[in-house]
Amino acid sequence: MRILIIDDDPDLRSLLGHYIKQRWPDWGVDEYDPLERNFPADDFPLGEYHAVILDYMLGRGDGLEWLQHLKKRHDCPKILFLTGAGNEIIAVRAMKAGADDYQRKQELTREKLLTSLHELTAGVKERTLSPELAARAEGHSLGAKIRIPGIKVLRLIGEGGMARVYLASRDGDDEPLVVKILRREILANKTALARFMEEYAMVERVQSRHVARIFGHGKSEEHAYLVMEFFEGGDLHKRLTGKAIDPAEALRIFRELMFALGDIHEKGILHRDLKPQNLMFRQDGTLAILDFGIAKDIAAVDRTHQGEVLGTPRYMSPEQVQGRALDLRTDVYSAGVLLYQMLTGRHLFDGETAMEVALQHVNTPPPALPPQLERYQYLLDKLLEKDRDARFRNADEVIGYLDRKLGPYAEADVTQKLH
């Protein structure tokens, strides 16, 4: 196998080459420095390579133009295009121009690079795919077959329990979008299908800047889909990665979350599954809630069976763990768990099993914040009350507290020393 790396940065070329050679010592890796050499001439032996890694900024050239020219050649191999983080328009343009895969350069890990190359060259190698790669290959091939009027499905970017997630764009522009395709096995499950379709119906009703925008949905014999907004800022999970967030920023995010909850609760919707993966950021830093897959219309007939517990144990309210009827305060509690994690960089509760974590929400008092975060202790205590009657009743009440006690015009601390 031979790989060509086209990038203006020698350190990056060395690093990518090292990763490849370390995993596949018999592969050949050639570097191409666009600062030293012009665009490959017609006699350049492009067809001898099995994949090309091409950067989008080449120092004195535009990677997209190089991509378009390379793809015009009949002997062009698969191309992995490297884009800037938070700039998915480039990714959309690259995929529309014929790139076979893309990766965000700043987030390109060894595993992501090798997985991508493995997939790109899988058709060439006579090798059995691992179940994981086979599943991804199935996802890619499904994406290529999906036909949604006016929408081009470009690349598999994520897989969840219920749906596969694809980068997409409209035919007429390069604005990135997300298409969620319900898994075939879920499509056959009437309850799960109803939940998926309900997500669209509920989100459409909300019309809030704090909720992911939905641009369309549909269902056929083969698949059910949602077309929705793409979030260039990624999710809260990506921001946390075991580190605390600066308290001012954590409070800003939390406040946005409260506005989001206020909007959905006003429409009579409980989210019931708040977690870092469901809080998304736009490029301007604003937050929107995603994934109403298990959200529930307060007025609807409860489709969950008695005792069935939905949600993510780390963020569940005590009443959710106990399988009791839920109200707005369940989301307020989960938001409190998220705030604790943002401020400290740690989970509120840890445990060996999901059940052990979940039960602590019912039985274990929350750990105190470290001294430097003491001013947020009362807020957290009120969010994380096990007895929901003692908790903040709704998002408006929380926002009121934030404004009065922690905002720029907060009331003076009555405990301050008198001079």
Partner: protein, 101 residues
């Protein structure tokens, strides 16, 4: 700057690549200084962009962070801000401690 930012953990198998990487960062610092002295904002932007891309790839997240500031500062022509960031980069390169694991 927080002392913890000067400590960088790098995968053991990258040890052979690091001397060249660090040498290139020092050359980059010199080039940044020359570009700032001649108010060559386009070159500053390109260098900042390159730092942003390569730093985190090797585990030097702060190089990427500074690269982003330099790229943004070059776009807005913020000479004083660029000077401060380039000084911070010089200090970072002189103090950074690498642990291979």
């Amino acid at each position: 700057m927080n002392e913890a930012n000067y400590k960088v953990k790098v995968a053991r198998d990258l040890e052979d690549l690091i001397p060249v990487f660090m040498s290139n960062r020092k050359k980059e610092l010199d080039t940044l200084r020359v570009a700032l002295a001649s108010a060559d904002f386009e070159q500053l932007r390109q260098l900042g962009h390159r730092m942003k891309g390569v730093g985190v790839s090797y585990g030097f997240d702060h190089v990427s962070t500074l690269g982003k500031y330099i790229e943004d500062g070059a776009r807005s022509g913020d000479r004083a801000g660029l000077e401060a960031r380039i000084s911070e980069y010089a200090e970072y390169l002189s103090k950074v401690q690498i642990a291979y694991e």
